[in-house]
Amino acid sequence: MVKELTVISGKGGCGKTTIAASFVALAKDPVIADADVDAADMHILLHPQVRKKEKFSGLDVAKKDDDKCIDCGKCYDNCRYGAFDSDNTLHPEKCEGCAVCAMVCPVEAIQMVERNAGEAYISDTRFGPLVHAKLHAGEEASGKLVALVRQRAKEVAEETGKELILIDGPPGTGCTVIASLTGVDLVLVVFEPTLSGIHDAKRIIEVARHFKIQVLACINKYDINEENTEQIMQFCKEENIEVVGKIPYDDTATDAMVAEKTVIEFSDGSMAKAIQDIWQKIGKAWT
């Protein structure tokens, strides 16, 4: 059975990708999936060689033939996303692809056409296969692209007999997050001991619980506010969430990133040790 682990934090900038990339270096034979499709950063550290590329079209977009249009205004009246002006001018960038305009148009002046919303890749890295994607600027349906990335990662794992998929999750609690959490075996929530980090991590724990997924927690940069760290420990205790480690604030994270390496490859200092320790504890929690 292939197992899936998602690393997530709610808020951006908590060190989620730094930690996930370190796990990649520590894991035995993983498949890696970067689910942060609108700001994917994993590839910066992993230097993937793209092996397979596919187009992602997401939802269709309305296209209007002005020669056929009789200006009846039905598209404007029925569109709920403001994609039409009152003079029936279409703004495709506001279209959510629902196809109501094409249905109500009496003269077939509107068609739903495929949009080029992004690309998904299967690549090779020094640690194993990486499935990643690029969503074009401002596109919809990013949750669908995450689902595609996870689907491809699963196929790669099954084809090559690998047992672990490591997923670097996106920030927030919306469609991309839901798509990167549903059905995984374990979620590691990265806390940052700032009030906003705590606020957002608590929300993401609610999301994970909503989908009935086992949650572990770790605290990154724990020493920038030890009082808040204590609060997080207390909260996790009350919520019955195991805290699998605390990582000190360390410039190594940035230095490794500049060198385009994982922390594990770059240093054997306190940060690397803390992450190794967490990785071991995750292994134990799993069995």
């Binding site: 808020k11 942060d36 600027a137 990013s142 009030l195 957002d200 604030y249 500049v258």
Partner: protein, 248 residues
């Protein structure tokens, strides 16, 4: 006025002592099916672009979270079996102080689409005042919805490879929207100079640099604005504000 558009994880209120108070619900219309009238013809399921409706055997299944509230199924239904009712997806809260109002939205846990809340939030912008929108992260629809129609965008980044990469993606969005923009480098001093070289090469104005100061990180962790805890940084921020005023 401050409007926090990060409805999946709003944080601006943390920097205010004043509590946030619920102001209103945000709902989208969702279909209600009259199963007496429904003949299971399947036209709605076939039409729905979001796969929110499915017919399996003798049953109609509706997945409320996937529904975008477009109303297509209701228009299409040949048996008039569909009406609409509000599906609450989140709330808007109001707070802040007399001279600095704050609005933010909260997307319900488990709901995937926050854009309708961002749209409603932006209605509260007072045209007679300077309104600052705190945008969600990323470059997908929520971030675009927050950036749209602004007079100016401040793109905040860090001088690291991740920072540069995500900045470049956001520059693409700002350019596509046609919104004037500039860059603020946060935690200046860490990382490398690739962000600065990129901005110079692309002729993007570098509006301000905020140093990598552990005192700032500590203030932030407690939810205190930099300019209150470290007044020496006031000049950096008022300079930034003046620069933007000149450019807009």
């Amino acid at each position: 006025m401050l409007i926090d558009c990060d409805v999946e994880g709003p944080n601006s209120h943390i920097f205010f002592k004043e509590p946030m108070v619920k102001f209103k619900d945000v709902s989208i219309p969702a279909p209600k099916f009259d199963l007496e009238k429904c003949t299971l013809c399947g036209k709605c399921a076939e039409f729905c672009q979001y796969n929110a409706i499915a017919i399996t055997g003798e049953k109609l299944l509706f997945f409320e979270e996937l529904c975008h509230g477009c109303g297509g199924c209701k228009i299409l239904c040949p048996d008039d079996a569909i009406t609409e009712a509000d599906h609450q997806i989140g709330i808007i809260e109001k707070g802040g102080k007399k001279d600095l109002m704050l609005y933010h939205g909260l997307l319900n846990i488990g709901e995937p689409f926050g854009v309708p809340i961002i749209r409603e939030l932006k209605q509260f912008a007072d045209e007679s005042k300077t309104t600052i929108f705190d945008s969600p992260p990323g470059t997908a629809c929520p971030a675009v919805e927050a950036m749209r129609d602004s007079d100016f965008c401040i793109l905040v980044t860090e001088p690291t490879p991740f920072g540069l990469h995500d900045l470049m993606l956001t520059v693409d969005v700002a350019r596509e929207l046609g919104t004037p923009f500039g860059v603020v480098v946060n935690r200046d001093g860490i990382g490398d100079d690739r962000v600065e070289r990129y901005c110079t090469g692309e002729k993007i104005p570098l509006l301000a640099k905020i140093p990598n100061d552990i005192q700032i990180a500590k203030l932030y962790s407690r939810g205190m604005p930099i300019v209150e805890g470290l007044p020496e940084y006031k000049a950096v921020f008022s300079g930034l504000y003046d620069k933007i005023r000149e450019m807009v």
